[in-house]
Amino acid sequence: MAASPDSAPAVTAHQVTKIFGGGSDRVVALDDVSVEIRQNEFFTLLGPSGCGKTTLLRLVAGFDHPTRGRIDLDGEDISYLPPYKRPVNTVFQSYALFPHMTVAENIGFGLKMLGKPAAEIETEVSKMLKLVKMEAMRDRATSAISGGQQQRVALARALAPRPKVLLLDEPLSALDLKLRKEMQIELKRLQNETGITFVFVTHDQEEALTMSDRIAVMSSGKILQVGSPREIYDHPSHRFVADFIGETNFIEAELTSVAKGAGKLKLASGKTIEASLPDSGVAIGPVTAVVRPEHANLVTGKAAAALDGKLSNIVYFGTDTHYHVALDSGGEFIVRMQNARDDTGRWRIGDRVGVSIDKGSVQVLRD
């Protein structure tokens, strides 16, 4: 269920600041954060540990309350509502399954606390067990099932009360790679089938790119950029965003002219190329631009090359090869090229090479 941009926001944070401790222990976990999470979308908070993503999630869940600012759910202020009065459920990083209850009792707990009749809980639990494919484990103790199964139970438990928003706090980080990939697909399927808004916290950029409708990239208590995976990857607004997501070449250049969101960049090599500009616009003068390694090619001869240098290293990855080029203007530039079966030995370390950059793949950063 793709999010439609015009539907009303499910969760809104208005200029939320969260400060923990005081005096020398004072930590600003969230610094004036505003964000809108739309109905039925898979929204990801992405950032390194300590960036405030989990704090923001806990504020939405109600485990903590904002120091300043407001959090709305479906347009209603929930900033100071206790967690048990919010139609929001959480899948915890540690799963936090109740060890003294069976799988079915865990899943039915929320409904029971909501005072639903036993028969209804029974049917809902069965439905949830089926949804996460755990019917056979119904009466098992939570300690007698595997990590991946615990993960499914935690999901079913959080989905059973039909929350308006499901919060997921790095739920896949404890799983091994294969299981994690499986669960990524599983999560997308569950979100499609239930139509519930998912807010997903992760530090894994690949996970964020593959699963999300939209991503908010966070750093040091601030949201730097919000956008679809493509926007975030192709048009990063900040150096941090470009660096955190995927591999990137940073090139220092001079912006010489601006026209209709595109600009002309004068590179250190003296050549001029076209570049996309950030939404907020930048001033004429020195700027930093980014080019993804797969948007560049090695060439011979000066004519097609935007940058010149010497091949300093070649790293083979199977599907593709990374060529490290020591630029004449200083710095390193990485080119990633798809491997073909017949191009062995075409490039050698020490070769003089030119780097051509694909049209429309240079992005100027805001900072």
Binding site: P82, Y84, T90, F92, F98, P99, H100, G110, M113, A158
Partner: protein, 317 residues
Amino acid sequence: MSDATANGQAMTSGELAGEEARRREVRNRWLLATPALVIIFFAALGPLAIMLVYSFLEKGNYGGVIWEFSTDGWFGVFLKQDIFDDTIGFADAHLSIFWRSIKLSLMTTVITLAIGFPTAYFIATQPAKWRPVWLFLVTIPFWTNLLIRTFAIMEVIRNEGVINSIFIAIGLIEQPIQMLYTDFAILLGMAYVYLPLMVLPLYAAMERLDFRLVEAGYDLYANRWQVLRRIVIPLVKPGIIAGSILVFVPSLGAYVTPRVLGGGRNMMLGNLIELQFGQGRNWPLGAALSITLLVIVMVALLFYVRNASKGGVQSHG
């Protein structure tokens, strides 16, 4: 072929060495346990055996026992013979003391649990660096002799004591409230004395409690009371049971507290036993009462243990 034989021999001698090492380890363990076993045998089982033997002997006129088999001691625990008409009836004085002991011990357990639970919860939810300080404060009463602490309580609650003086001074009451020498005084004293024994095991259980489970409970629409009842209490149940045993068992045999705060009239089992060995000069009865007390304690423990194992799955991290 020769290789296989050599291998086989090597394995056998290896196994033998392993077996020998295992045996040595078992022997060492028993050796290490010997001091404890000696103490338990001579200081606990020995006297217990003496008690059991004494309870089946004839009482001496001036204390002690006469070495002749008799069931009078056990007879006297539950029944009494009227000295004038020889009719046999229940020893209602003893039974009421039994009942009072059990009742006061249960009440002490409940009171210490009611006070100790929030205390332990409070300590367990403090920042890790402050917890030892709070635990230290809990153990401070152990620094003073039990007798002195009990007399201190007496000073607080007696008719001319701190509480009554203050109440009279501020005009709340005209006559002092009789608190000393009542069951209330005994309860107060025992709850005070045994509270740390409740707090410490409760704290140990709560410290291991994963508070993320509490958050998960809140998240799933359980209010504070429901989280307490359905998540916290089931998970710290081992601590509740341990604390209850540690309070209930010594309460049942308490001697000093009921003696000092209960006066002569509000006896508990410990006082009754002491009476038989002292002024009563009826050692067989005293011994029989002691064994009875032991049986009550063991029944209580069995009940607890069975209940505890029925508690089902426990959290192991």
